[in-house]
Symmetry: C2
Subunit: 316 residues, 2 copies
């Protein structure tokens, strides 16, 4: 059976899976990314793990390797200046793998891989124009137009987390201010609750939690129980995200926007106000033409499926 | 010789040209759009004009017809709810032309046509990823990604004039508030000067002109002479446009952004502060990867060349 290897490189762990064309993960393993100070050593260990996984998957034929990594550049096969990885500067990751493999090895960032996962295995099958937003610690995005992932001139297109929403707004890790991800992400909603503590007089059980300990999960739980501060935080998050999505519509008029990750799992708490704000403020040409829906990929499998989809897409 | 017809439909005039593959306009004419209450009558008159032009062009073989029109929909061949045309509702313009012609007839909006003109005849030759912004009464945009114009799911993608820059900002003709074109356009800069009259104490010759009579050309002339209000208006226009362009970079990381139309003709008055703000605020991945340059098409020919490029592109 033909298979590809899907590799998802995170700051702490790297997930590796053997995947067939039908999204079955035949074998999977893990490597601790953070333990390797040099990318060369990391690649050797991942290579050894791949050999073990291929053996355990049985009688398979390896066709390609897809890698999702922070700051991954599709054109150059490099990871460039990724703040959450040990390897500084520009790492020629694809070339390091090519020492061991003669099949195609392709690399992109994790959100682009998620978009391809959605397109090949998930809810975007058959769609030519859609966007996926991954709402985690930050906000990642993968944009598909005319059936192709948008890499842009540099290979780094699709960074909607860094849309400037408020030129003099919250400080962002990128060195600029008011980026979308400082508002709409697991960390963004925590900041919004802290703002609301200052603005509002209402009591809230969240006020008993220290700023450093507060999480988006606690906010979702409080909102479920009707806490007005938590509900208002979801409302503001949704309002900001609606503006960004409606601006995306003005660019590329997608058929759907998929939301993935922790914040998206808050379900109606996010989707209800989001759909209301989008409907209220979208340019009339696009009204009722664009669905906003949760990703259909399971959180646990999505990373490996996304990177394997990158490999299948490359193989055509 | 093989030729196409390029038609540019404006609210007042429609320009028609016979164009070869090398951007030579072999013959051209005009029809007064606003005189025709019914689209059917308009198409008959344009058809008659095309016949005359083809005769005057000599020995040519007609291969296709490209039409640029406000609110033109590429997929459906329709003009939909165009506020500046007499014809209300949905006009099946391509079908009306097809009664007379068996060659391909294609339609899109004027800014998309301008993008194709730039790609086939102008400064974007060889580029796969670029944007053109047409700065006229409003702000139109045409976006090319992976070598293809972005029409989106609806056929109405590429409306950057309606990016929401200030959710509670200036009223826009679209019924919403704070759209980019209410700030960055010939009419937008006039509004900015009016705001500056209120904010600032500096004298300015522009204060002697009534609000209704003030034009972007007068503002450019005053700025050339060093008028501080006019210079500040260009600076604010450039700052807002820089935010929009940097947000476009985050989407699709273009190789170039072309500016076309009246405001772009202000030259260094716009481009100098614009390049400065873009450099200051662009996400670091894109720094120095994106040129911001004037369109290389002559204002007088651009509309006909754009629509003819649409036809050539369709013919492949």
């Amino acid at each position: 059976m033909e298979v590809v290897i899907g590799i998802d490189i995170g700051g702490t762990n790297t997930k590796i899976g053997v995947v067939d064309r039908k999204a079955n993960i035949l074998a999977q393993g893990r490597v601790k990314t953070a333990e390797y100070k040099k990318a060369e050593d990391f690649v050797e260990v991942v290579h050894a793990e791949i050999q073990l996984l291929l053996k355990s998957a049985g009688s398979v034929e390896l066709r390609g390797i897809g890698i999702g990594a922070p700051n991954g550049n599709y054109y150059k096969g490099t990871i460039e200046h990724a703040p959450n990885l040990n390897w500084k500067g520009i790492v020629p990751l694809v070339n390091l793998f090519k020492k061991h493999y003669s099949v195609p090895v392709v690399l992109t960032n994790d959100a682009n891989a998620a978009a391809l996962g959605e397109m090949i295995y998930g809810g975007a099958r058959g769609m030519k124009n859609f966007i996926i937003l991954t709402l985690g610690t930050g906000l990642g995005s993968g944009i598909v137009i005319n059936g192709e992932l948008v890499y842009g001139h540099t290979g780094f297109a699709g960074e909607m987390g860094h849309l400037t929403m408020e030129p003099f707004g919250r400080e962002c890790g990128c060195g600029r201010q008011g980026c979308l991800e400082t508002y709409v992400s697991a960390t963004g909603i925590v900041k919004t609750v802290q703002e609301l503590f200052a603005e509002k007089r209402e009591p809230s059980p969240l006020r008993k939690v220290s700023a450093d300990a507060l999480t988006s999960k606690m906010i979702a739980e409080a909102a479920e129980k009707g806490d007005p501060i938590a509900l208002e935080a979801f409302d503001r998050t949704a309002e900001m995200l609606a503006t960004a999505i409606n601006n995306a519509a003005v660019f590329c008029s997608p058929e759907a926007v998929f939301l993935f990750g922790g914040l998206a799992q808050a379900g109606y708490l996010l989707f209800d106000p989001l759909n209301r704000y989008v409907d209220e403020t979208i340019l009339r040409y696009y009204r009722k033409t664009m669905k906003i829906i949760p990703s259909s990929l399971k959180e646990a499998d999505a990373a490996i499926l996304g990177s394997s989809a990158l490999a299948w897409k490359e193989l055509g």
